[in-house]
Symmetry: C4
Subunit: 364 residues, 4 copies
């Protein structure tokens, strides 16, 4: 299969997963698909979405309908954005470049990862839709600034700091498949990163607490970062209302409610479950995105109904990229938007603002 033809049995987003499993090397597929620990949270991401029900209304006039919506002051074509996903050349030779082209074609925004396998600048050039930069905090404050400046200069309009994965978590599935980063795939944007101080531990010390976590950011780091840039800063990876409130109070302009696709700590709730509490905590006008398990237009509808301004799409973009390159990603995004339109039309909602908690049926 040449990686730019869409196989004709792809009818829904999940079909790309099935096919990606066939085309990708086992260890890479397992790395992408897998979650933390026993993958209870990974499963929960889907089952929690599935358990939610739409309560449709009939005979409304929706001929003026549109999925357009405004997020952090930007007009988006739909409440859908591509999540930051690292090292995309691992699954397709053009990697993030192909993804950016697809995003542009469909007018869907893209969050570009610190761990992209193309340069921030290069990706930006191919990206005409909303472009946000996702920062993995680096121990050296100055180097973070360097990355931020590059993002500012190459036209990114928001900064997303991911805070839920200071440690990878227990990724047994990826380990079991003996996953390692394929040769030649590197974090090209971190090439100039100052070397880390070498660590040594006393017997009482822990490589987790005194080791890895010593590189992790704290609230102070984020507060500092917010002061260094004009870009709106969004905190990605929050599940607790108190943390959302805290993020807002230090000047963050938004939060991505997320459990990192179930990839870090297992046994945590899915974003969709905690979303209503977080919306209530931060108030109506604060920007909330969410991700985890979105695969259907109805999933997008549910997330919006429960308080999200928009959703992020993680794994599906990488499955589609693996299967059919830019064409695949674009196709996947088109399926999703059309499914959302169908859901809105059949549920009697003409606009994103028409979707609210009242649009959902609560089982009793």
């Amino acid at each position: 299969m040449t990686a730019s033809t869409i196989p004709n049995d792809v009818l829904c987003v999940a079909d790309y997963q099935r096919l990606a499993k066939e085309v990708l090397p086992h260890s890479i597929y397992e790395y992408i698909y897998g979650g933390g620990g026993d993958e209870l949270t990974l499963k929960q991401n889907h089952s929690a979405l599935n358990a939610i029900q739409l309560w449709p209304r009939v005979l409304n006039d929706v001929t003026q309908g549109t999925t357009a919506t405004t997020v952090l002051g930007e007009l988006w074509r739909s409440p859908i954005m591509l999540a930051p996903v690292a090292f995309q050349t691992m699954v397709h030779q053009e990697g993030e470049i192909a993804t950016a082209r697809a995003a542009s074609a469909l007018d869907v925004g893209m969050m570009v990862s610190t761990l992209a396998s193309h340069s921030i600048e290069g990706i930006s050039e191919c990206l005409s839709s909303p472009k946000w930069f996702q920062l993995y905090w680096q121990l050296d404050r100055g180097f973070n600034l360097e990355l931020v400046r590059r993002a500012e200069q190459s036209g990114y309009t928001a900064l997303v700091v991911t805070v839920d994965s200071a440690i990878h978590g227990i990724r047994n599935r990826a380990q079991r498949a003996h996953f390692t980063l394929p040769e030649g795939i590197t974090a090209i944007n971190l090439a100039n990163r100052p070397p880390l101080p070498s660590n040594s531990f006393t017997p009482d010390q822990s490589i987790v607490f005194q080791g890895m976590m010593s590189e992790a950011p704290t609230w102070e780091d984020i507060a500092w970062l917010i002061k260094q840039t004009e870009l709106p800063v969004v905190v990605k990876g929050i599940l607790h209302p108190s943390d959302a409130i805290k993020a807002k109070s230090i000047g963050a302009k938004g939060v991505v409610v997320s459990n990192h696709g179930g990839r870090t700590l297992d046994c945590v709730p899915s974003a969709i479950e905690v979303l209503p509490d977080i919306r209530q905590a931060v108030g109506e006008s604060f920007t909330l995105l969410m991700d985890g398990g979105i695969q259907r237009g109805t999933d997008v509808f549910k997330a919006v109904a429960l308080g999200a301004n928009a959703v992020l799409i993680g794994r599906p973009q990488i499955y589609a990229l693996a299967v059919a390159g830019a064409a695949g990603v674009a196709h996947m995004l088109r399926i999703l938007r059309e499914e959302l339109e169908v859901a809105m039309a059949l549920a009697g909602a003409a606009t994103i603002e028409d979707i609210s908690p009242v649009s959902l049926y609560k089982r009793r």
Copy 2:
């Protein structure tokens, strides 16, 4: 198998599904069986019914028992009617004619679909039991009137407007089976329909909202229609109490609580779940039918207990038709009525009026 002998291992309604799967071409079976999206609603239609429990009473005298009931002023032999199911010649050469004969033989009413593969008039001639006409709204108001007049003139006693399927929904199963209408099967009753205006879209526009939904009816259309005919109008495809109230307020005489057999929007509740709320909303004397997943006499009992005046039978009629023609449909209907009688007798209910919410056991 000649399509008019009842195979001797058919003991219950579900047996017809099993056999239909064997006799029908794969793509046709998949089209009939399938639901929208991930078929969560399709499964829920059955599981929600199964979760309900009867609370039987013993030693009541039921020797005067009967399933007879009055619906919209008509005396019915039982609270069971055939749902509108399109294109029945697709599964059996006689199609709706055979179904009508079976309905007549068992004295069960039939809702004839706009998309019948026989003429409204032809079906009516073979139908001696209650006959209602199901209208799929057509863009041209005048053409709707033509259809209504034909229904009036050929003896239909009620008009059912289906409002939940302006768009087909995301029918991945049917697509995956490459379903298309077999050659020669046409919507014969729409033969004279004025051509649709040709649509063209700006890049911002959506083929869903600005395209398909521009042909969909609105509350105003239904209100207009109600004024054009003496026939009682019933609105089919409502799941929300507010919509039921609205239908009543504009002069509809009844509502079919239905999710279209889980075939349009996925992730919506089953009719049986929302039925009690809708009954409460519209009051005791308004006519409510329901459908979705009815396969056992106990299912009919449950629907009646939760507020339905009668239930519709969708897929089972078409499975029975496929397997054994008119004899199959009649047999299927007889099984269902007898099972209802057994359920009533063993639950101590002599009449349909004896069945109420109190007849059900609520798990705690």
Copy 3:
């Protein structure tokens, strides 16, 4: 296998079911095992028991422990009795005679069915433990009296009238297995029954309501029967508190809370679920038995904790009889009593009176 040796891999009651499936003809096994309709109630009988949890207490002195208990004034060795099960020669040549010998050996009471394949008198002769007679009401009042007199004269100490199965229910599994009563197996105790009046129906009439149910007893019949005998009368097959209250009010001395092993009406609650409500309705001192799904000593414990004075064992007796004759039934009953003793000992309950709702843990 000679039907009197206990296979050495029988460790628990359920093992007899597994082996019975092997030794019995398919259609007979299916008849015994099967339930009504889709067997939802049959499954629920087990799952409802399994969902209940014991809350054990430790370090109590139980060295004076005993399972003995008093039921309707009789001292029983344990709160366990054999349920009435028809036509036992169908699975073992000695039939009820073997069962009676086993019951006697283990000092367990037996309810002898109207449909026994041995005479009431013959069974009584082999039965030294509590013996109760189960009556299936017969259309002719006088013939019921004849049966009662025979029971009185041959030493039965209580009369159990089964009221939940005027109609067999929809037994698709037995039908599918083409079950019919094997040649030579007859309802010997009904040999002299006066012939039934021949029925004929008008087209409007129902063979359920105007046919079968015309032979069913009503509350008046039971009230009449109670006045005809000195024996305490127990009503078997009640699931609703109001019916239990009614039974008590007309002079019944006890009730068997039962859904007939899930064999008549499907979709009804299990006895264990409704038991607490019924106990509350009839008060502390009224005799309540229950049956349905009892397979473990812990099941007996649970039933007692929720208000039963004793439980009945249906299918297991017939499986054990099929596999190993009298020895099998005795063995099955010994397993059950020992398991009950172990449950009581480990839960810190020395006597049946020590078991109460407080002995159960309620999940939250």
Copy 4:
């Protein structure tokens, strides 16, 4: 496989179970793995843990983090201890000696069973981490004292009396696998036990109540024991708050909330379910351990959040011992501690004291 190399596909605790199943004789594996009755409680031990969710907090500084905690006045490296598991030479020639060495290497405490296959003293010599002695009460009070004195003299710092298994329970799985103690494996520490009085029973008596339970301890025995020693006494095998209160009131210094790994009475709640009630009953400062189903660092986190001071690890130690001897047990314990550290770090908890009920998300 030589029993001291760690197979390289062991990534988590459960992997040891999988491999143990391969290396152990069937009957021994079944004995270890198995639970009582239908193993409902055994399954519940895992599913109840899995149903609990962590509610992570982000951006906390955890660089001073540690799993260290104080239990009964002892400083432990983590809230993890090895549960008493009998007859360890059954799975590995060095048995408890290897386990003790592993425990010492990882600085994890060990509860040594009365039924150890090495002498109390011998094990103690190899054990440098916390060592507690688990007593199975013996009929002869004096002999209990002898055991206690030996424990005191060889350096054990606490006494654990197991009270939930006066009877083995109904272990059908072990029976079905024909498990018997392999030749040469003996309860070496009970070698000098005075012979039991020979029992004989009248027909009315029960080998459960009048037999086995006559050797079981009562509250009086435990109260007496507490007075005989300076060692703190912990009661193992309590599930009911009232029993925990009672234990505390007679002077016990702690309780192990446990259902004995689901091995004695089936159908009882899991320890994790009853833990919050028991914590509430005994107050904040009383020592509570728990066991049953702990396999992940997140499980330890959950137990601590719900009120446990520490958890015990039963089966995993014996699986790891069987697969890779001392190295296996040490490796298993290291996995568990590291997973706990990762869970704490990702949940924002720097210390064991930071973990509380508030750290958990409650589904709604």
